[in-house]
């Protein structure tokens, strides 16, 4: 069995096919660990991340510009990943004569470069689709889209107006899709993978023999990597097994008793749990080269995340909560942003934890994180913040705070696409049209 070429273990579990893709083990790479064994470069992957309702600039924008920037309190959670990210402030999303569509115009501009004309209008295609057309054609999934909201409609990815990319919203379903057979025939009644069985027995048990054969050929470092990967997968399966024996948290919109439970669907703690599972699965899928383009939505644009004990969900809070005289910002609204940043930190760290070649998966990834407004309270677009993470295979520097000085925020996306090899002379239309990349971050 030639494991140099096969990167996927297949087996049978209870009569159903299962697939376990393998991460980029050293045995698949060249001697230096900086390219594939056949000489091709390490794949560079592109991802997006979304959080709703912007920031409080007073406690979000660092005082220092450039490398070694400070982390104001709303960004406190980013301490562990500060050296992996670039922060972009002072950039603008321009709508020109197009209307200001609350919780829509901003994110559409950041993902397409085009201001929408009305709430039905999805102009162009989103940035992840553009990149996936360049780098996504050789992998099992051209792109993977996931959301932590538990809502099948939370997606910021679309091919065109009529084709939004529906997200994975259920960690169990996502797991089944990634590790179940490649092809599911709905007309073949016995071919349906049962996630409960998969999780309980572990898909790994379906590929036990092949794993043993593989392990014999691996060096120590690779054995460790495989072990780490399998352990992570098994941990997730244990969680799924637990969930599958009692109602999924996602079904909490329909409680057995008191209405309070109905709201736990959007509770921030529950959202974080879902985010963690979806992130872990997504990172695995990327590490195993199942896809090279991925999207994660932490929240919807007008996020309905709930803080336990506080009656207003995030969006309502941004409009109703008064600005605290002493603090100069809305304390509860800021709480929600801080939770968003915590989850962003988890997302970035998930990629940083996976070893790949000489470094980590994050070294070979570029993640583009955007939001819908600068300030949710006034629906402003001026100064809309952006964050990127990862070094894109060494093409991008990290740890830099860039001040846009009023230039178009789409420059970040444009720069990202150029780094990913999308050879476009410009991106965006009208005042959002740019052909000026952000040189400060380029290596």
């Amino acid at each position: 069995m030639n494991f140099n070429r096969r990167r996927v273990l297949k087996g049978l579990l209870n009569g159903s096919a299962v697939t376990v893709a393998l991460p980029l083990l050293d045995c698949f790479l060249n001697g230096n660990g900086d390219a594939l064994a056949d000489g091709k470069p390490m794949p560079v992957r592109f991802g997006t991340w979304f959080w709703g309702l912007g920031m409080d600039s007073k406690i979000f924008i660092p005082k220092k510009v450039g490398a070694g920037f400070d982390l104001p309190e709303e960004l406190d959670a980013l301490k562990p990943i500060k050296d992996h990210i670039n922060l972009y402030t002072g950039f603008n999303a321009f709508r020109d004569s197009s209307p200001l569509l609350c919780h829509y115009t901003g994110w559409v501009i950041m993902r397409t470069g085009i201001a929408p004309e009305n709430g039905d209008n999805r102009p162009g295609e989103t940035i992840d689709v553009t990149v996936s057309k360049k780098i996504g054609r050789t992998t099992r999934f051209q792109h993977l889209t996931a959301t932590a909201t538990g809502d099948a409609r939370t997606s910021f990815s679309y091919e065109n107006a009529n084709s939004p990319n529906a997200p994975e919203w259920s960690p169990v379903n996502f797991y089944t899709r990634l590790f179940g057979p490649d092809f599911q025939d709905p007309n073949a009644p016995s071919f349906k993978p049962n996630p409960r069985i998969m999780a309980r027995k572990s898909v790994l048990s379906g590929v036990m023999e092949e794993t043993q054969d593989l392990t014999k050929t691996l060096g120590a470092a690779d054995k460790q990597r495989l072990e780490q990967y399998y352990t992570g997968l098994r941990e997730l399966e244990r969680q799924f097994t637990q969930q599958l024996t009692k109602p999924e948290p996602l079904a909490a919109c329909h409680p057995a008793k008191a209405p309070q439970e109905a709201k736990t669907g959007n509770d921030s703690v529950l959202t974080a749990e879902r985010h963690k599972m979806m992130t872990d699965l997504l990172a695995m899928a990327v590490a195993c080269d199942q896809t090279r383009v991925f999207n994660m939505a932490y929240s919807a644009a007008s996020a309905n995340t709930i803080k336990s004990g506080y009656e207003k969900p995030h969006h309502t809070c941004t409009h109703e909560e008064p600005i605290d005289d002493q603090l100069g910002y809305q304390p509860n609204a800021s709480w929600f942003i801080r939770r968003s940043m915590e989850n962003w930190a988890y997302f970035v760290d998930a990629f940083a934890k996976i070893k790949e070649g000489n470094g980590t998966l994050l070294d070979n990834v570029l993640i583009y994180a955007t939001t819908d407004h600068a300030h949710a309270r006034t629906h402003s677009l001026d100064g809309i913040p952006v964050i990127t993470a990862g070094r894109a295979g060494g093409k991008v520097k990290a740890g830099i705070h860039v001040d846009g000085a009023g230039s178009p925020a789409v420059r970040v996306g444009y720069t990202a696409m150029r780094v990913m090899g999308v050879d476009i002379p410009s991106w965006g239309t009208r005042s959002n049209a740019t052909s000026k990349d952000i040189g400060e971050i380029l290596a």
Partner: protein
């Protein structure tokens, strides 16, 4: 008071002259939808307002209840997960802002369950999936048919084949979504239109628009059958809807070659255009120009003959015989099963709070019913005469002597507003909770150039 007539929209006097384009009003129904494989026992039925809809073997319209986000959480069903059951909810869920949950619902002792109002379309053990029709498991162990993953239900409000009365009355485009509750929707086959064209439901009928921006399509009286005469200066204002080179035309559609290699769509032999100056989706502004018309697959059923229309500050509204704006009433409650409280046999407390602060008598003064005159009849099932008990606002009992015979739209009474004094007054448009979409009144817009009120 001058009857304005309906320019470019639903014409009470004459369906086609000066009105919208739709060929013969119900002709071509069979070609309006895309055929798809269906399990035995289901059919497609033509409905008066919503076009072809799926129905069960008895002709009862099928509905789904896709999950919808509201201010404080979600209601409705995810794909593959039916939740409508026999639970008798007693409390509101607090999904609507700013009121909390945990409040006992009105008339809680007699409040029906979700399944009481929305019988599930059960499947048998040996039923098999066909195309987009699948069988899903219910929490109670039974199996249920689903379409596109969403579980299927019928509505007890529907009485005859073709009735689509179950969904909450759509009072125009605005105020829905998160503020308008999570509504059930009738399930329908895809419209038989080429890519790039969509059909949307408006108060005037099922209108053709572009898919990506929802901008209106138009036809021109001076074109011939499958022949465009719009050239030169005409093209400065009207843009032909072009067909791709490899396009094939669905039934009732044709492709005309304007010039070598330039292909234009035509519907029922009328070439199609968009208007360059249109700034809004679903616009009717193009129909202001002589000979230009919006395009409908199917026109809406005619309102009562005595009804008129009026210009207002935002567009055109349907009005009673004296020119007073007609309003519909929409209501959906805040329990997890989202009951429709706009029908006369629902608790009237919601409506009475808004229209008078609690009194049916005062409501009839503030928001009078539109009385049907003796012998007045409707030519369709969308506009009907409903018998109402004047003391309660509920349906009158059969033979009730003092029953009011009032006009209704889709099974629910319509109203005027006592403070609308001058022609074109619309002081009750959006009057109610969440701009009327949750519990309140909306003007019956025939055309709304600013806020999309006509749909």
């Amino acid at each position: 008071m001058r009857n304005f007539g309906l320019i470019g929209a639903l014409a009470t006097a004459s369906l086609v002259a000066g009105g919208a384009y739709a060929a013969a009003s119900r002709g071509g129904q069979d070609n309006d939808y895309v055929r798809e494989p269906m399990p035995a026992g289901f059919q497609v039925i033509a409905s008066e307002v919503d076009g072809p809809v799926f129905a069960d073997a008895n002709g009862r319209t099928l509905y789904t209840w896709p999950v919808g986000s509201q201010r404080n959480g979600n209601a409705g069903e995810q794909k593959g997960k039916p939740t409508c059951d026999a639970t008798k909810y007693t409390d509101n869920a607090g999904l609507m802002s700013p009121y909390p949950g945990g409040l006992t619902l009105p008339e809680v002792e007699t409040r029906p369950s979700c399944l009481d109002l929305w019988p599930a379309v059960y499947a048998n053990g040996d039923d098999k999936a066909v195309g987009k029709w699948t069988v899903v498991d219910r929490p109670d162990g039974r199996k249920q048919w689903a379409y596109d993953g969403f579980a299927l239900y019928t509505s007890v409000v529907d009485k005859e084949p073709g009735d689509v009365l179950g969904g909450v009355v759509r009072g125009g485009n605005r105020g829905g979504g998160g503020d308008g509750g999570t509504r059930r929707a009738a399930v329908a086959p895809a419209a038989n239109v080429p890519p790039g064209v969509s059909v949307i439901n408006t108060n005037n009928g099922r209108m053709l628009v572009t898919s990506d921006t929802k901008f209106s399509l138009y036809t021109w009286d001076k074109d011939g059958a499958d022949k465009s005469n719009c050239t030169a200066a005409c093209l400065d204002a009207w843009k032909p809807v072009l067909a791709p080179q490899t396009a094939t035309a669905p039934a009732e559609w044709s492709i005309i070659e304007r010039s070598p290699g330039v292909k234009q769509w035509a519907y029922r032999k009328r070439p199609l255009y968009t208007r360059i100056d249109d700034k809004r989706p679903r616009s009717q502004e193009g129909s202001d120009f002589p000979g230009w018309r919006n395009v409908y697959m199917q026109l809406a059923p005619k309102p009562p003959a005595s009804f008129t229309s009026r210009d207002t500050s935002s567009g055109i509204v349907l009005a009673d015989s004296k020119g007073h704006t007609i309003y519909t009433y929409t209501c959906i409650d805040d329990a997890l099963d989202q009951h429709d409280c706009s029908v006369p046999d629902a608790p009237q407390a919601y409506r009475l709070a808004i229209c008078s602060g609690g009194s049916q008598e005062k409501c009839m003064q503030n928001f009078p019913y539109v009385m049907a005159k003796a012998g007045e009849k409707s030519g369709n099932r969308t506009w009907t005469v409903i018998d109402i008990d004047p003391k309660t606002g509920h349906y009158a009992k059969p033979g009730q002597a003092d029953a009011l015979h009032v006009w209704g739209y889709r099974g629910r009474p319509v109203y005027t507003y006592s403070k609308d004094v001058n022609p074109g007054d619309i002081w009750a448009d959006g009057y109610g909770e969440h701009r009327g979409s949750r519990n309140g009144f909306k003007a019956f817009w025939l055309r709304d150039d600013f806020f999309g009120g006509a749909g």
